[in-house]
C-alpha cells in the first residue's frame, strides 16, 4: 500500500471522500462545510469535488440538521454530520439520544440509523469554556450509540471508514489539537475494527490507558519515565463503545498497575468506567496498587493559556501521577 505522511484532518477528509466516491448514499452536511471548509478545514475542497448536493451547507440549526441526518439515515442514506464544535451538540442531544440511539430498539429492530456525527472536541486552543469541552462520556453512557475517539491520522482514517460503513449512529470525536498532527497513512481505504485497542508502547511496571490527545502526552511521559527506570505500557482504546476490555485487562495482569488518563473532567468521565471495569475484572487479584485516574480538573475551561493548560493533564502531571502510583 502506498503510504504518505498526512495530517489527521487530511486523513478524515480522505476517508470521507473515498467513501463518497464509492457509495452514492454517503454525503456530508453541516455548517460552513462548503467553500469555507469547515471551522477546522476538514472538508476543504470537498464541495468542489462532490458539489452542493452531497456537501450540504446547512443553516445554523443543530436540532434540524441532526434530525435530518437521522431521518435520512433511517431512509437508506449514510449521512456524515459535522457539528462545528462538539460543545454545540447540546442542541442536537434529542435527535442523538432520544431518537437515533433508541429508534431501532423502539421499533422492534425494524429500522437502522447509519450516520456518523463528527464532534471536534477538547481544549488547548484558547477558545474558552463553551468551545473546549470533552463530553464523550455522555454518549458512552447511552445504549444504541457507538463512540469513537481516534488519536492519530492513521486511526482517524481507518475508523472513519468503519464508522461510515457501520449501520448504527457513530459519534466520532476529533481533537482540535490533533488536526495538524501528521502520521503515515495509506492511500488506499482500510478499516479499523471497533473495539480493538492498540498497545502504543510495551512496558512492564504500569499500564496507562489513555484516550485522544492524552495518548501523545502519555507517550512523551513514558520516555521521561524510562530514563528514571520506570517502564510503562500505553494503551489507546481507540473506541470507547465498544471497549476492548480484554487488551486492557491482559496488560494489567502483566504490569500489575493501572492508570487511566483522560482530558475530560475526571469526575464522572469515561475514565471512571474504565477504572471501575478494571477493578471488577479478574485483573483485580493482580493489582499491586489501586487503579488510579488522572483526568481534567473539575472546572470550566478558562481562557488564559496558563490556566487552560493547568485544567487538563499535561506531560508533567502524567509523570507525577505515574510515580505516585508506583509508590503505592
Amino acid at each position: 500500500m502506498m503510504v504518505r505522511e498526512i495530517t489527521y484532518a487530511d486523513a478524515i477528509r480522505e476517508a470521507m471522500s473515498q467513501r463518497m466516491r464509492a457509495d452514492d448514499d454517503v454525503f456530508i452536511l453541516g455548517e460552513d462545510i462548503g467553500i469555507y471548509g469547515g471551522a477546522f478545514g476538514v472538508t476543504n475542497g470537498m464541495i468542489e469535488e462532490f458539489g452542493p448536493e452531497r456537501v450540504r451547507i446547512t443553516p445554523i440549526s443543530e436540532a434540524a440538521i441532526s434530525g435530518c441526518a437521522v431521518g435520512a439515515a433511517m431512509m437508506g442514506m449514510r449521512p456524515i454530520l459535522e457539528i462545528q464544535f462538539s460543545d454545540f451538540v447540546m442542541i442536537a442531544m434529542d435527535n442523538i439520544v432520544n431518537q437515533a440511539a433508541k429508534m431501532r430498539y423502539m421499533f422492534g429492530g425494524k429500522a437502522q440509523v447509519p450516520t456518523v456525527i463528527r464532534l471536534p472536541g477538547g481544549s488547548g486552543a484558547g477558545f474558552a469554556a463553551q468551545h473546549s469541552q470533552s463530553l464523550e462520556a455522555w454518549m458512552a453512557h447511552v445504549p444504541g450509540l457507538i463512540v469513537v475517539q481516534p488519536s492519530n491520522a492513521y486511526d482517524a482514517k481507518g475508523l472513519m471508514k468503519t464508522a461510515i460503513n457501520n449501520n448504527n449512529p457513530v459519534l466520532f470525536y476529533e481533537h482540535k489539537l490533533l488536526y495538524n498532527s501528521k502520521g503515515d497513512v495509506p492511500e488506499e481505504e482500510y478499516e479499523i475494527p471497533l473495539g480493538v485497542a492498540e498497545v502504543k508502547r510495551e512496558g512492564t511496571d504500569l499500564t496507562v490507558v489513555a484516550t485522544g490527545v492524552m495518548v501523545h502526552r502519555t507517550l512523551e511521559a513514558a520516555k521521561e519515565l524510562e530514563k528514571e527506570g520506570i517502564s510503562i505500557e500505553v494503551i489507546d482504546p481507540r473506541t470507547l463503545v465498544p471497549l476492548d476490555t480484554e487488551t486492557i485487562i491482559e496488560s494489567i495482569k502483566k504490569t500489575n498497575r493501572a492508570l487511566v488518563v483522560y482530558e475530560a473532567v475526571e469526575r464522572g468521565g469515561y475514565g471512571a468506567e474504565i477504572a471501575s471495569m478494571i477493578g471488577e475484572s479478574d485483573a483485580f487479584d493482580f493489582l499491586d496498587a489501586p487503579v488510579s485516574r488522572l483526568g481534567g480538573v473539575a472546572t470550566p475551561i478558562p481562557y488564559n493559556p496558563k490556566l487552560e493548560k493547568a485544567a487538563v493533564p499535561q506531560v508533567e502531571n502524567i509523570i507525577a501521577k505515574v510515580k505516585s502510583v508506583m509508590n503505592k
Partner: protein, 321 residues
C-alpha cells in the same frame, strides 16, 4: 384534484370509524388494566388522520407524534399488530418494546410515532432529503399538534425544508390545547398557519373535521411537494374529545366546549350524513360497516391477548444493527 369514488369515500368513513373504535377499545382495555403505561387518544380527530393520508400514496411517508394511533391506521398500519403492541406482545409492531408512543410500520411508510414533541419534524426533513437525493419521488407528511409549534425543532425544520425545497407537508392538528395549555395563550397569532410566512411557504387553515376538505387541501400540498416546489404548512382545526392522556380531569376547558364539539362537529357523524345525502351510504350499509369494524377490532384484541409476551432474552436484542 381527485374526485373520490363512492368506494373511496366509504373506505375513508370506515377508517374513521375504525380509528374511533380502536381508541374506544384501547380505553376500555386500559381501564381493565390490560394496557399499562399511558396513551393519548385521538377520538374526535379522525378526519385529520384519514383525510391527510387519503392524499398520500403507500410510498409516501408520515412521521407522527404521541397521539399517533389514528395516523398509523390511516396510513395502513394494521390494528392487529397495533393492539398487540399496546398489550406489549411479541407480535406487536415493535415486538412489545415500543408501546403506544413508538408504533412504526416502515412497510407502509409509517416512520413512527414519537414521544418527544415536535421531534418528528426534523426526522421528516431527513426522510424528505433522502427521497430527493435518491430520486424516489415520495413525499413526507409530518403530523404534529398546535402546542408543538412552539418548539425550536418546528422552526428549524420548517426553515430547512423551505430553503432546501424538500418534498414535505407539515400537517398541524390544532385541537386548541397542548396538554392543558390553551393555544390562544401560547401563541400570539390568530392562526398557526400564519407561521408559514416566516419560512416563505404557503400556510392554510382548514376545518379539520371535514375529511374531504382535509384530503383536498393535503392533495394540493402533496402535489406541490412532488413537483419540487417545497413544503406547505396546513393547520387543521379539530378537537380532542378525551383528556390529554390516561389521567386528565380536563379542568382547563369547559364541559360546554366539549359538548359543542361532540354534538355539532363530530367528524364521523358529519361525513356519514354527507354520504347519506349523496346517496353513497345508507343506514343499512353503515350498520354493516359498524359490524365489520367490531369484528376487526374483536379479532385484533383476540390476536393481541393470545399472542405471547416477548421472552426475557429479547431485552438486549435489536439495540445495534
Amino acid at each position: 384534484m381527485a374526485n373520490y369514488t363512492s368506494e373511496q369515500k366509504i373506505n375513508m368513513l370506515y377508517d374513521m370509524m375504525l380509528i374511533r373504535g380502536f381508541e374506544e377499545t384501547v380505553e376500555k382495555l386500559f381501564q381493565d388494566g390490560k394496557i399499562h403505561g399511558t396513551m393519548h387518544l385521538c377520538i374526535g380527530q379522525e378526519a385529520t388522520a384519514v383525510g391527510a393520508c387519503a392524499a398520500l400514496t403507500r410510498e409516501d411517508k408520515i412521521t407522527s407524534n404521541h397521539r399517533g394511533h389514528g395516523h398509523s391506521i390511516a396510513k395502513g398500519t394494521e390494528v392487529k399488530g397495533m393492539m398487540a403492541e399496546l398489550l406489549g406482545k411479541e407480535t406487536g409492531y415493535c415486538k412489545g418494546k415500543g408501546g403506544s408512543m413508538h408504533i412504526a410500520d416502515l412497510n407502509v411508510g409509517n416512520l413512527g410515532a414519537n414521544g418527544i414533541v415536535a421531534a418528528g419534524l426534523p426526522l421528516g426533513t431527513g426522510a424528505a432529503l433522502a427521497s430527493k437525493m435518491k430520486n424516489e419521488g415520495y413525499v413526507v407528511l409530518c403530523f404534529f399538534g398546535d402546542g408543538s409549534t412552539n418548539e425550536g425543532a418546528f422552526h428549524e425544520a420548517l426553515n430547512l425544508a423551505s430553503v432546501w425545497d424538500l418534498p414535505m407537508v407539515f400537517f398541524c392538528e390544532n385541537n386548541l390545547y397542548g396538554m392543558s395549555g390553551s393555544i390562544k395563550e401560547m401563541v400570539n397569532v390568530e392562526h398557526i398557519s400564519e407561521r408559514a410566512k416566516a419560512y416563505g411557504i404557503p400556510g392554510v387553515t382548514i376545518n379539520g373535521n371535514d375529511v374531504l376538505e382535509v384530503a383536498k387541501t393535503t392533495e394540493e400540498a402533496v402535489a406541490r411537494a412532488r413537483k419540487g416546489e417545497g413544503p406547505t404548512l396546513i393547520e387543521a382545526e379539530t378537537y380532542r374529545w378525551r383528556g390529554h392522556s390516561r389521567s386528565d380531569a380536563r379542568k382547563y376547558r369547559s364541559r360546554d366546549e366539549e359538548k359543542d364539539w361532540r354534538k355539532n362537529r363530530d367528524p364521523i357523524a358529519r361525513f356519514k350524513l354527507q354520504l347519506i345525502e349523496e346517496n353513497v351510504l345508507t343506514e343499512e350499509k353503515f350498520a354493516e360497516l359498524e359490524e365489520r369494524m367490531e369484528k376487526d377490532l374483536a379479532e385484533a384484541v383476540q390476536f393481541a391477548e393470545e399472542s405471547p409476551e416477548p421472552s426475557l432474552d429479547t431485552l438486549t436484542a435489536d439495540i445495534y444493527a
